[in-house]
């Protein structure tokens, strides 16, 4: 910040003016309190869930969130790398056993075990940046989880990306929502016209499962690989708001996320939504607990490793759009914006985190990770701005 005071100030002002109005959090995702989540479940079922944590088997349970009870919900183990027997990540489906049951309008929520982030607050900060950059992202808040009256640690309660999210944040819910399931190192190159090459893996349909027609998705991938350089932008624009997409990837690199669209091992951790009665797609961030990897992080990291980002940023005009977005990101990836959020979250969860015996790291590691994260986000701005010139 000392090196680029004028640029940084300008970016911050621009970012503040350019930022969309904050999405009003629902009560269950309010970040002003440490929520209390209690699960009552047959002890045998809880043991089975932990024993079989790699399976998506549902179990019936009662759950209370801040003393509001929901009966007969379905819970199952969830996550990819974060799947854990000792501290299971959980998906809670309110309507698994009770038709149409909802909680505050939600059919499901995620209880993230945060076992991959010793600071426990990376994902919360990451979504704050996405939101500030105008990218709808899931609501998130911290909670204490007890299972059959036994404290099971600090979790995050995260809004599921599903129809209520689509309706509230994108304005409609009739389209095709795909959960990108990492199965192999893929760079968005064309895999032929066989739908089986795209869905249900890696694009796992979350809506319209029984009447899914993936032809637009396949065509989208095809034109990205096969369009001529001169036709590329026109062709891709039939499927994507290119500037918004570049803003998404720029945000990912601004927060030094190493496991996203341009991740270390191919694409990962996002939802892709095709709007109803449209060929247009948009990307929704997911599972950002590996953000803020390092202070020094190339803002063009892995752009060349993905067919879509490589071809789009080969256009000088679009590279400028990308760099402008990165620079705008510096307005939020800095101590002024994030440290207050970090301190607020830290103060909120500290006591519970220190008494969380299920977390796979010790208290020293937790405190160290918090301090490290504070230093990283304070210093990250200068690194971004230096590269975004």
């Amino acid at each position: 910040m000392r090196k680029y005071p004028v640029v940084a100030a300008a970016v911050t002002v621009l970012a503040a003016f350019g930022a969309p109005a904050a999405h009003a959090a629902d009560a269950i995702f309010s970040q002003s309190v440490l929520h209390e989540v209690r699960i009552v479940i047959d002890p045998g079922d809880w043991q089975a869930l932990r024993d079989n944590f790699r399976e998506n088997q549902y179990y019936a349970a009662n759950i209370s969130i801040d003393n509001e009870v929901v009966q007969q919900v379905g819970i199952r183990s969830r996550g990819d790398g974060s799947r854990n027997a000792n501290k299971p990540g959980l998906k809670v489906d309110f309507n698994k056993y009770v038709s149409a049951q909802e909680f505050h309008g939600y059919k499901s929520v995620v209880l993230d075990n945060i076992v991959q982030d010793a600071s426990m607050i990376r994902e919360r900060l990451a979504y704050a940046v996405y939101e500030a950059m105008g990218i709808p992202s899931p609501q998130i808040a911290h909670c204490r989880l007890t299972v059959n009256d036994q404290f099971w640690g600090v979790y995050t309660i995260i809004e599921s990306v599903s129809k209520p999210f689509l309706k509230a944040r994108l304005g409609e819910e009739s389209g095709n929502l795909f959960d990108y399931e990492y199965t192999f190192n893929w760079d968005f190159s064309y895999r032929g016209d066989d739908p089986a090459q795209y869905t249900p893996l890696p694009f796992d349909p979350e809506t319209n499962e029984n009447k899914l027609d993936p032809k637009d998705l396949i065509e989208f991938v095809r034109v990205v690989s096969q369009s001529s350089d001169s036709a590329l932008l026109g062709e891709v624009s039939r499927f994507l708001d290119v500037d918004k997409f570049l803003n998404y990837v720029a945000t990912e690199n601004a927060i030094a996320e190493h496991d996203g669209w341009v991740g270390d091992s191919g694409m990962n951790n996002f939802f892709l939504y095709q709007f109803g009665n449209s060929t247009m797609f948009t990307v929704i961030p997911w599972d950002k607990d590996t953000a803020f990897t390092a202070t020094q992080w190339p803002v063009g990291y892995h752009l060349d490793a993905n067919v879509l980002t490589r071809r789009l940023t080969a256009d000088p005009n679009k590279m400028k759009v990308y760099k402008d977005a990165v620079a705008r990101g510096a307005g939020f990836v800095n101590g002024r914006f994030l440290v207050p959020l970090l301190d607020s979250a830290y103060n909120q969860i500290r006591n519970a985190a220190l008494s969380d015996t299920k977390k796979p790291y010790d208290n020293e590691a937790f405190e160290g990770a918090i301090n490290g994260l504070r230093g990283l986000i304070t210093a990250r701005e200068a690194d971004i701005l230096a590269q975004a010139k």
Partner: protein, 417 residues
């Protein structure tokens, strides 16, 4: 135009099939073959309530070909007889939009009766083939002759179906007239995923006094739980199916979903019917119990699941009880209940999951009123009002709403005379 195809087809069937089939019989020596079957077309409404968009099972299509039974009956001399009947309703629904019934024909799903019967003297017979297991009075009644459009809760939820087997039947006079059916079957419902293993079933009916029948029935067999998935990435492995009894109301709403079972499957029932003049009253109870060996979440044994149902029915033939008293008109009323629970102690978390140790008890009580009118010998018009109540409002069609759920059913039935 599509909207007219269904009623047009119904009228066509109603007019053409019976008259064409009436008296139709093919003879060759001692062999006599004649067509058999009937058509049932329904109109349904659920006034005042609705279910979530993605709910399955409810008979929501307001125009449904409920049954289209087609087949033939045959006799060979005085001693051999038999019949083959299929239900072609899925085929018909496939032809007539807007249904999307899946495969138009599937042998296991669509086969109803396929048996040969050998008379053993004047009073006894031996039947072999595919037919109903002799347990529930309600289920043993042909769907064309039921008092209401839908079977009773206990028949839908607990009674066995049809399967391949051998059955001895007949009647004898032991102080009073006694009828019996005793059979051994390969399973208890060949066409269903929930089929059990080899099953023995028996039913005894005592004509206690003139017009009064008292009956007892039972079946005993086993059911095998599906194996667990050992490799989630192996597409040939499918999720184990829950095979237990179930609770399903006339609307199709499942108030008790199947749970995983393994071990002995037993049914025990009793029923009575009394007829005097134009009045008939019937009552039936049926109890079912299934073991859940190794069906717990950690492969532990769970307390058995049991279901208990009862029904009481009264029918009054208002017109047509005697010849020349006009076309028959019946009024009927039924009051019934069906409940499910496990046999273990009510301790710990009571769940709705398919492997719940302590099953959350579920029950439904239903009251039905109906009218049946036979304008022609082979034509029957049915109107039913069904009032369902559920003890657990959480698992009612509209979660949290306690109260009555109304189902209206109108049916046109046309039989091959």
């Amino acid at each position: 135009m599509l909207g007219l195809r269904w009623p047009m087809t119904v009228l066509l069937v109603a007019a053409a099939v019976p008259s064409a089939a009436a008296g139709l019989e093919w003879r060759h020596g001692d062999l006599k073959v004649k067509p058999a079957g009937y058509f049932q077309g329904d109109l349904r409404a659920f006034p005042g309530w609705e279910v979530a968009e993605d709910t399955t099972g409810l008979r929501e299509d307001p125009r449904d070909i409920r049954r289209l039974r087609l087949g033939a009956e045959a006799e060979l001399g005085d001693r051999l007889s038999g019949e083959v009947i299929f239900d072609a309703n899925e085929l018909a629904n496939a032809i007539i939009p807007p249904d999307d019934p899946g495969a138009a024909f599937a042998l296991r799903r669509d086969l109803r009766n396929a048996y040969v019967e050998l008379a053993l003297g004047k009073d006894h017979f031996l039947r072999g083939g595919h037919f109903k297991l002799p347990v529930s009075r309600e289920f043993l009644t042909s769907a064309a002759k039921m008092d209401f459009a839908e079977r009773s809760l206990l028949a839908n939820g607990i009674a066995p179906g049809r399967d391949w087997g051998l059955m001895l039947g007949g009647e004898a006079k032991v102080a009073r007239q006694v009828r019996y059916l005793v059979g051994a079957f390969a399973g208890d419902s060949w066409g269903e995923d929930t089929r059990g293993g080899p099953t023995a079933a028996a039913r005894v009916v005592l004509e206690a006094v003139d017009g009064l029948e008292l009956a007892a029935s039972a079946s005993i067999g086993s059911v095998e739980g599906d194996p667990e998935i050992t490799d989630p990435l192996d597409p040939t492995q499918i999720d184990p199916r829950a095979k237990s009894l179930r609770g399903r109301s006339a609307s199709g709403w499942s108030f008790f979903r199947r749970v995983h079972v393994d071990g002995a499957r037993r049914r025990l029932g009793a029923d009575a019917q009394f007829s005097r003049g134009p009045f008939t009253v019937k009552a039936e109870v049926l109890h079912g119990r299934e073991e859940r060996n190794g069906q717990g979440s950690t492969f532990d044994d769970l307390p058995a699941v049991e279901g208990f149902g009862w029904s009481a029915t009264a029918v009054w033939r208002v017109m047509g009880a005697k010849k020349k008293s006009g076309p028959p008109l019946d009024l009927a009323a039924r009051y019934e209940s069906l409940s499910f629970d496990d046999v273990g102690p009510d301790e710990g978390f009571a769940g709705t999951g398919s492997r719940a140790r302590n099953i959350r008890p579920q029950s439904s009580t239903s009251m039905s009123g109906g009218v049946s009118y036979y304008p022609r010998k082979w034509v029957r018009l049915i109107g039913n009002v069904v009032l369902d109540r559920y003890n657990d409002e959480l698992l009612a069609p509209e979660p949290g709403r306690k109260g009555t759920y109304v189902t209206l059913i109108a049916r046109l039935q046309v039989e091959i005379p």
